[in-house]
Amino acid sequence: MLSRGIRGAVKIAAIAVLAWGAIGGRASAESVLRVAMTAADIPDYTGAPDQGYEGYRFAGYTLYDALGLWDLSSSTKAADVVPGLATSWAIDPNNNKRWIYKLRQGVTYHDGCAWNADSAIWNFARVMDPKAPQFNARHVGQMGTYVVNIASVDKIDDYTIAINTKAPSSLFPYEMAMYYMISNCGVQKAGNDYNVYMKTPAGTGPYKFDKVVPHERLELVKNDKYWNPQRIPKHDRLVLLPMPEASTRAAALLSGQVDFVEAPSPDTIPRLKDAGMKIITVPYPHNWDYMLRMDVPPFNDIRVRQAANYAMNRQDMVDMLQGVAVAATQTLIDSQPWYGKPVSYDYNPDKAKALLKEAGCTPCVIKVGISTSGSGQMQPLPMNELVKEQLEAVGFNVQLAPMDWNALIGVFLTGAKKYDFNAINFSMAPIDPVQGILKKWMTAYAPPACCNWGFFADPKVDQLGNEALGEFDATKRNALLTKMNEQAVADAAELYIVHDLNPRALSPKLSGFVQAQSWFQDLTPIVVSP
């Protein structure tokens, strides 16, 4: 009797739920893509995203465009720069420090403001000219690095600008693919007050700003007038939710609260797969490595650097990570055009021991700065413990010095000489030859100028870099950059460990997503089924 009553109640409840679902389905025809980000907060969405490249991925290329854009349409080749708000660019045949950019016509910002040469020049002044009313010190922090080579910008006509660089800079178009253009009308209407502007920010991107709940969610809607019809979103609304806890993201996906999860932790992947979620992994330029300090012992000796590389059993690391990484024997991934055919430091503990003995570094004591978590740092604690174990097996004596992510960024920015670390575990994004080769290995980019943290110095590398910057023929330039990369690997300029495969977990109701070999992703092709 009782069980019959319970069954009846369950049936009534089920009918009610189905009816509610049907009513809800009819009432809401809007298709919504809900994304759980790893970020601890909503990235800046005014045109200078913070929170690392995740900010660029979700609050940058969604709302805004740059002169060039990353081609994110393929998962089988590394992403490269293609025309965006500029339809073409070329170096002035009479002046190798002057780039001519042809701007795309007929484009308007989300607020109706026209995109043209005046708007482009206004946008450069926003970061380059402290006296301009639209100057934004916060935007300088994020965007300043991309305009550091610009001397001035001239208007040639309404849809053509000339950008004068301080020195010949053949790789300049890569920098222009990271510099977002925001609505000059919007900022002017806000009285050049960015706190007012952020209530209705406007770019030219495939999504338009709709609303934000601080710290909780950013909601964007489809820009159905986007200039590239191929990239008009195939869903109506994009909801971005910060969820720094990996277990919370997995639970949110499993319970149906979100549809798309960034970086599920390896131990949750079997459970997500069992529940029918799609796990997508693709190689992309994200190397998890040790930057080495090379102006002092022991890593000033190439034999010690090579020994460390030969000590790495990278397959062990991949197995520990349940296959969400691949072995790395250099900074770049093999689909990048500058990969070349460098030496490969395959696991060889005997050779590592012999090299350390030859270098007279026994035991070879090193101190390594590591973070306990952080953007792109993968699973830093167990991974560093494994690296330590493998290094110590060949004669190193490793002291790991853990700190939080913010502190490690400080160590990176100020350079090796101000600390007593022999190495730091600091993953980088070698997305282009500027970030992946030039800024890592040229002495001109040693701190405080930029990112050659360990003061690597090889005159051959510097010479190749300078030749590449002055070479405007793409084939010849790529050959120079490839040689440069090969030389840096021959010098064992880093301790190469793994490349991240960037796992993502998607609800089975999503289709159409192509995971590009890039830090940035195009969400526009995603179809959300009911």
Partner: protein, 318 residues
């Protein structure tokens, strides 16, 4: 009474001043820099220095502290470095989200613990007593964040009864505790927060009631012919000052100690805000949040002291 309250309020000022100094010093001792979160991955040290100067972080520490303190005295907690919005608004919004679930949790824990404590004390050594003691020990021992994760796995993932994370389907700005579709987001955070105080208060109530029930005046009450229910009411009234003190203390702990639970459930309260401020080294936000939490803690203790003196006038006289 008013003199007592006034004296207590005046005494809170040096306490809060001490809190600001300790908080400021601790934040400065910790390595890291709020500016780093505002920089691109390939920014230079010069970019960092320029931005640091723009936020006044290149000033000597004493100068930075007194500038901040001066603003606090006129109700301005400064601007958040990472969000570029007033800290006061940020903290107030988060504080409301925290105080409501903390209050619900502590009241729930108080009511249940009184019932459990009385049953356990009245039936000392019985199966009910042992079961209640087991629940109380579990509540005291279990880390709330672990409990939060277990609740999520069970109720959100396996049973799909409750949402795993967040505050309402559209965020906290439209959240209502009186709408089931929203309130269900609060259930698991409330349970995770309520269990530790439930354990502590149950154990305290049990031992206090058991002690009272062994006193002579209880025997007198029974001899006068009072029912057992009336006897228990007398016993409960006798432990009230102690129970109220415990309730206030637990509420204070919940407000200040909800960081892990709010992070697990992505509940946008002061704990979540504090965690974010620590990770981004957002010094004004960190200082503002701690100051508000410390003020709340001190005020709750003040209210509890005053309530205790109302319930038990002997305290006021002492």
């Amino acid at each position: 009474m008013w003199l007592y309250a006034g004296r207590r309020i005046v005494l809170t000022i040096p306490i809060l001043l001490g809190v600001t100094i300790i908080c400021f010093a601790l934040v400065q001792i910790a390595p890291g820099d709020p500016i780093q979160n505002l920089l691109s991955p390939t920014a230079t040290a010069q970019d960092a220095a320029r931005l640091r100067a723009a936020y006044g972080l290149d000033q000597p520490l004493m100068v930075q502290y007194f500038i901040w303190l001066g603003k606090v005295c006129v109700g301005n907690l400064g601007m958040s470095i990472s969000d570029n919005v007033p800290v006061a608004g940020e903290v107030l919004h988060a504080f409301v989200n925290t105080i409501v679930i903390a209050l619900i949790s502590v009241v729930l824990a108080f009511v249940v613990s009184m019932i459990f404590g009385v049953i356990a004390a009245y039936r000392t050594g019985s199966l009910a007593d042992r079961l209640i003691t087991a629940v109380a020990v579990f509540g005291i021992s279990v880390p709330p964040f672990w409990l939060g994760v277990i609740l999520v796995i069970f109720f959100a993932v396996d049973l799909s009864w409750l949402p795993a994370t967040g505050m309402g389907a559209s965020g906290s700005e439209t959240f209502s505790y009186f709408r089931w579709a929203d309130f269900k987001f609060a259930i698991m955070p409330i349970i995770a927060l309520a269990l530790p105080p439930l354990g502590i208060m149950t154990r305290t109530t049990r031992s206090s009631i058991a002690e009272i029930l062994n006193q002579d005046f209880i025997q007198t009450l029974r001899a006068k012919g009072l029912s057992e229910a009336q006897v228990i009411v007398h016993a409960v009234v006798n432990i009230m000052p102690q129970a109220v003190a415990m309730l206030g203390l637990q509420l204070g702990y919940l407000i200040g100690g909800s960081v892990l639970v709010e992070t697990v459930f992505t509940w946008p309260g002061t704990g979540y805000l504090l965690n974010k401020a620590v990770l981004t080294r957002d010094i004004p936000l960190l200082q503002g949040t701690i100051l508000v939490l410390a003020t709340a803690f001190v005020l709750i203790n003040l209210v509890v002291d005053l309530a205790q003196s109302l319930i038990d006038p002997r305290l006021k006289r002492s």
